[in-house]
């Protein structure tokens, strides 16, 4: 509309001549394309160049038996067949889903709870906030080293504390049944800061007038939280849940720096299995195939979450 107003002669012209009108429409579209791609072009090219292009290449690798050293051998879909029948892959799927199922709800619950707490006007809130955010800046390597010190079963400080409290000491990272739970705890330690930041911001975004209106209507604080705050936070929750799920499905760093997949492979996640297969056993073709399996899994889980949130009318995407 505005364009037409700026250029009255053309405006009258295209009313007259349908051919000219079509031509002009084409010219405008072309201009839009140029402008549009000049905004998104570089970024899109870089992302595609650094992700989709290598991923396409990796697909070819996934059809080969290749250790990088000897010449690659074509094996067709055999790597994918091997994957379906590989019990270690299914174990890794189990461990990955177990981690995700614990980590995502807990990080969201804790993030929300801590954010609500930090949103109170109480003393020391600056100290609390700093203490809870700071682990978020620590690198995975530093986190792994610290976890090693804290959870060492014989000599670590976690058991030292249990002993002082008169509780039985635990094997932590050295027990096949506990190791993954400990990794969840470590991941929460490092990542809850992210959820808290997001929720804290969202809480400050809830319009005060809605809250006050509810209070005037006789709602108590708990009811306000249940019927005002939580629905207001729903879109953030969906976003955070999807984001944390994608992160959780790709868990690698913490496993690498703490247990290396042990004990008895109980913490081998899918990405760690890819690393193990490709970089330790030099089976790059098979590693690429398993990566594609993980990609499919992530896609399915993510699409399900988006679909579910849409169905329940929470518009986060």
């Amino acid at each position: 509309m505005t364009i037409a107003l700026e250029r009255p002669p053309e405006a009258t012209a295209f009313l007259v001549d349908p051919k000219l009108r079509a031509k002009q429409k084409r010219a405008r579209r072309r201009r839009e394309d140029v402008v549009g791609w000049s905004f998104v072009g570089v970024s899109t090219l870089v992302v595609i160049g650094l992700s989709i292009f290598p991923a396409g290449w990796a697909f070819f690798i996934s059809q080969k038996k290749w250790n990088l050293l000897s010449p690659a051998k074509d094996v067709g879909w055999k790597n994918y067949q091997t994957m379906i029948n590989d019990p270690e892959v299914w174990d890794a799927v189990k461990h990955t889903l177990f981690f995700t199922a614990l980590f995502v709800p807990l990080s969201i619950f804790m993030g929300m709870l801590i954010a609500v707490a930090l949103n109170q006007r109480i003393k020391f809130v600056g100290f609390y906030r700093t203490a809870i955010f700071v682990p978020f800046v620590a690198s995975a390597a530093a986190t792994g080293i610290l976890a090693g010190f804290v959870f060492e079963p014989n000599y670590g400080s976690a058991n030292d504390l249990l002993r002082r409290l008169g509780l039985p000491s635990q094997p932590w990272l050295e027990s096949p049944t506990q190791a993954m739970i400990v990794i969840v705890i470590i991941a929460l330690w490092g990542q809850v800061g992210f959820c808290v930041v997001v929720y804290l911001a969202a809480l400050q975004d809830i319009p005060q007038d809605i809250v006050e209106a509810a209070l005037i209507d006789g709602a108590n604080r708990r009811q306000v939280f249940r019927y005002v705050t939580i629905p207001e936070l729903a879109p953030v929750t969906v976003f955070t849940a999807v984001w944390q799920t994608i992160t959780a499905l790709q868990l690698f760093d913490l496993v690498y720096t703490t247990t290396r997949g042990g004990p008895v492979n109980s913490t081998v996640t899918l990405v760690y299995y890819v690393y193990k297969v490709a970089f330790q056993e030099s089976r790059f073709g098979y590693g690429a195939a398993v990566s594609y399996g993980l990609f499919a899994l992530t896609m399915v889980v993510t699409l399900f979450m988006v679909w579910y949130s849409r169905r329940t009318k929470i518009e986060a995407f």
Binding site: S43, V46, A58, I114, A117, I122, E232, M299
Partner: protein
């Protein structure tokens, strides 16, 4: 999905006591929230305190059992060893360079692309955006070998460029900025167009100034991620002159011998700039995070 609710960026003073509300604590002489926050804060902070304390211990003290929490003396051998026997100052400088380029490039490219995908109409838009979102789900391990070969053909393996090229822009950043721009009311932009501004002019003069909160958030996340990135620079850089600090730190953790004092001191040195930066920026950072409405 609205990432901000209001246009004015409220400078929230988080520490200011709230004027109106009266407090009833019930049986406790203090707010019950302290019962939750105090233990949590200690649990979250203690391991990092332990890291700092450990960095002043000797190797023997670090490995002594039961573990020591307080060093017997302020032993700085870890720090002198870390700076003396290695290229640590150089690694820190490299990391600063990588992080600076990453943040600057992220701010420019992600805001441009985010705006393009949020507002502009052009052919291939949906395809481009879908491709970008899909990359979020690709496990990075899948990409390492092809990327390495590609970088090698481009001649950037073993250079600092290998460390920052993957951080020039990111799907997360584009996505974040797009969500933010989608939430802005269109009226201001339309006003700008009527005033005769080009699309870029609207973006530069009207949209960007409003985007400061989102840009600050993007900057913080990019800084953290590029600073702490390990697996990729570890693969791409063999020349120790071009190590980043995280790669350099792994050289203290050998297969057969770990130099604990140096490793802990190095981790403190590598983490401290981030912690200090975070402490200085946090008030502003959290205040500007009010972008997160994420509402329809």
């Amino acid at each position: 999905m609205a990432l901000i609710r209001t246009l004015e960026v409220r400078d929230v003073d988080l520490d200011a006591p709230e004027p109106k509300r009266r407090r009833r604590h019930g049986l406790l002489p203090f707010s019950p929230w302290h019962l939750l926050l105090m233990p949590l804060a200690l649990i979250f902070a203690l391991p990092l305190v332990q890291m700092v304390l450990t960095s002043f211990m000797t190797d023997a003290e670090i490995n002594s059992f039961p573990p020591k929490f307080i060093p017997s003396s302020l032993n700085v051998a870890g720090y002198t060893g870390f700076f003396g026997d290695s290229l640590a100052p150089r690694w820190l400088l490299n990391t600063v360079i990588v992080a600076t380029i990453s943040v600057a490039s992220h701010l420019v490219l992600c805001s441009l692309a985010g705006y393009g995908y949020a507002r502009l109409k052009f052919r291939g838009r949906n395809f481009g955006f879908f491709a970008i979102v899909a990359t979020i789900m690709i496990p990075t391990q899948l990409l390492m070998i092809p990327t390495y070969v590609m970088f090698s053909k481009l001649g950037v393996v073993d250079t600092l460029a290998a460390a920052f090229i993957p951080w020039l822009t990111s799907a997360f950043g584009i996505f974040l900025m797009r969500q933010f721009f989608l939430a802005l009311p269109r009226e201001l932009e339309e006003a700008g167009e009527i005033d005769g501004l080009t699309t870029f002019g609207v973006f530069r003069r009207i949209v960007l100034p409003l985007a400061k909160p989102a840009l600050a958030t993007l900057a913080v996340f990019t800084l953290l991620n590029s600073w702490n990135d390990l697996i990729w620079p570890l693969t791409a850089i063999s020349n120790q002159d071009n190590f980043t600090i995280q790669v350099g730190l792994t050289t203290f953790q050998g297969t057969r011998r770990t130099q604990w004092a140096e490793l802990m001191a190095g981790n403190v040195v590598a983490t401290m700039p981030l912690i200090i930066g975070f402490l200085m920026a946090q008030k502003h950072f959290i205040a500007t995070m009010t972008f997160s409405g994420l509402k329809g």
